[in-house]
């Protein structure tokens, strides 16, 4: 976001540079193009309607599910799982990443273990979580939290341990140590990196949500996906994918908005 802004800023004096709104509009071109290609492929007989239903059919599936009142339910439960899981995982990632980034002892003690746990592929957790936590909401939320935790943990610990030592020295020279040093120097210096870590964590939260819902669920967009496969409803399957993309983008936009606000406030 800031990149595009800078580009417009530098390009402005030359020729007729595209405006900010214009640049935003360019981002819509590719999705429209993809939609066109989809329509073309679906109607040209390259794929059968069972393999690739045209966009209109997906839209009508959307209408059906909305009319039956099911869709909101799926969307709501998935979003809820992601938000709760992300909040928990991000909070833990911030806390543990902060500890590891700020304290060399904590880093030496915790880092190897966390790295090892991180290496476990997401799906490997599912059987264990089901065994321990049953089939309710908890295992799904925990899996999302695991997914959100690692990007946040990694970026926060790296950002805090790489703060410009010159600035840390200013903090010390002006009498800050301990918590005041963290609050006035280390944390503000690491904030941009921390925010992008949060965005990564959120994206990975959605990833892990689908993993959880595909395997053990009776609700949510991941369930809709696997259910549509079982019932041969490709239109619903595509709908679920489109919705996942839209929701992921939407939640990321909120965080991205916070990021831009912060950057402009600092400029």
């Amino acid at each position: 976001m800031s990149l595009t802004e800078e580009r417009t800023a530098t390009a402005a004096p030359q020729k007729s540079a595209p405006s900010r709104v214009g640049l935003r509009a360019i981002g819509v071109v590719l999705p429209l193009l993809l939609l066109g290609v989809w329509q073309l492929l679906a109607t040209a007989g390259v794929y059968s309607p069972a393999q690739l239903p045209p966009p209109a059919e997906v839209a009508s599936a959307f209408g059906d599910l909305v009319a039956r009142g099911e869709l909101w339910h799926h969307i709501a439960i998935s979003t809820q799982r992601v938000l709760i899981g992300f909040a928990a995982g991000a909070a833990l990632g911030l806390a543990l990443g902060g500890l590891v980034g700020l304290s060399r002892t904590a880093n030496a003690a915790l880092s190897p273990t966390v790295q090892a746990i991180r290496a476990v592929p997401s799906l490997a957790w599912v059987p264990l979580l089901l065994l321990w936590l049953g089939v309710g909401e908890t295992p799904k939320i925990v899996l999302v939290a695991i997914g959100a935790f690692f990007p946040v943990y990694t970026t926060v610990s790296a950002a805090l341990s790489h703060v410009d030592p010159h600035l840390t020295e200013v903090g010390r020279a002006y009498g800050r140590s301990g918590l005041p040093l963290v609050a006035t120097i280390l944390f503000p210096a690491a904030t941009p990196a921390i925010l992008s870590g949060l965005r990564l964590g959120l994206a990975q939260g959605w990833l892990f949500l689908v993993a959880a819902e595909l395997i053990a669920s009776s609700m949510g967009l991941g369930f809709l996906l696997i259910d549509s496969q079982n019932t041969g409803r490709t239109d619903v399957m595509l709908l679920a994918i489109v919705l996942l993309a839209a929701l992921g983008k939407l939640t990321d936009t909120f965080l991205g908005f916070a990021e831009t606000r912060l950057q402009t406030a600092r400029r």
């Binding site: 600035l167 020279a173 503000p188 904030t191 600092r266």
Partner: protein, 275 residues
């Protein structure tokens, strides 16, 4: 403003262990700076000027001897000292106003804090830029803000580590005048590390020359020659500067001092046309 403080180094030594090897940087530094005095610290690169300054600030601890401010030994960060580094080191996420406020002593808040910050911003001529960010400033402006931040700490001793070295010649002269003015107003004790003999002659009451001790006083060109890496730097020379500050930059008696100072620093001045 807090009262100017005296600064004393007695038998100060500092050694570092670099890659397992012992490296003595400073040895037996004895120096007493009177309250309100301006000392310029000169010496070849790497002789330990910054190290000595950091010892006074409490950013580092001596391996031998003691540093004291007004008779009390420095332990940890010294609240009566304020440092200006070679780079402005402003916090990029804070406005200029809040950067200067960062220097305020603990306990100064609310309206008095606001007035104090505005006062120092005015002194360094940046009152119109209070709401600007550091990246919107020129190098000279940023360094002035850093000076204001240090002054907001109401230091008894102002420690300046080559504060003007990165500035262009004209800005540097302006900053020197500003420092002289601020010092006169506040009466602060100043320890100024510099590479610039003219700057030292213009601003200081005394010039202290650091360097290797083994070949002290053996003539021009010897300063950078037979350094004994094991020995560490000592105070080679303390040179009182005649006349009241601020001095005329074109003063002829200073020209002689300048020549002898440069030869002490290992610069051959005899072959050059002197201004």
């Amino acid at each position: 403003m807090r009262e100017p403080a005296g600064l004393e180094f007695s038998g100060v030594g500092r050694a570092f262990a670099v890659a397992g090897r012992h490296r003595q940087v400073l040895t037996g530094i004895d120096l007493t700076v009177a309250p309100g005095e301006v000392i310029a610290l000169l010496g070849p690169s790497g002789c330990g000027k910054s190290t000595l300054l950091r010892l006074a600030a409490g950013l580092d601890a001596p391996s031998a001897g003691t540093v004291s401010v007004d008779g009390r030994p420095v332990r940890g960060i010294e609240p009566r000292c304020a440092v200006v580094f070679q780079e402005p080191r402003l916090l990029p996420w804070r406005t200029l106003f809040r950067n200067v406020a960062y220097g305020l002593p603990r306990g100064v808040t609310g309206e008095p804090a606001r007035q104090e910050v505005e006062h120092w911003l005015r002194v360094v001529g940046l009152d119109a830029f209070a709401q600007h960010r550091p990246r919107q400033l020129s190098g000279g402006m940023a360094q002035r803000a850093a000076l204001a931040r240090a002054l907001a700490r109401r230091p008894g001793v102002l420690l300046l580590d080559e504060p003007f070295a990165a500035l262009d010649a004209l800005t540097r002269l302006r900053m020197q005048d500003l420092l002289a003015e601020v010092q006169r107003e506040a009466g602060t004790t100043v320890l100024l590390v510099t590479h610039d003999a003219d700057e030292a002659l213009h601003l200081a009451d005394r010039i202290v020359l650091l360097g290797s001790g083994s070949d002290a006083g053996s003539g021009p060109g010897s300063g950078s020659g037979s350094d004994d890496p094991e020995a560490g730097s000592v105070v080679r020379l303390v040179l009182p500067i005649p006349g009241a500050r601020p001095r005329d930059r074109g003063d002829t008696t200073l020209a002689e001092l300048r020549a002898s100072l440069l030869s002490e620093l290992g610069v051959n001045v005899h072959g050059r046309i002197q201004a």
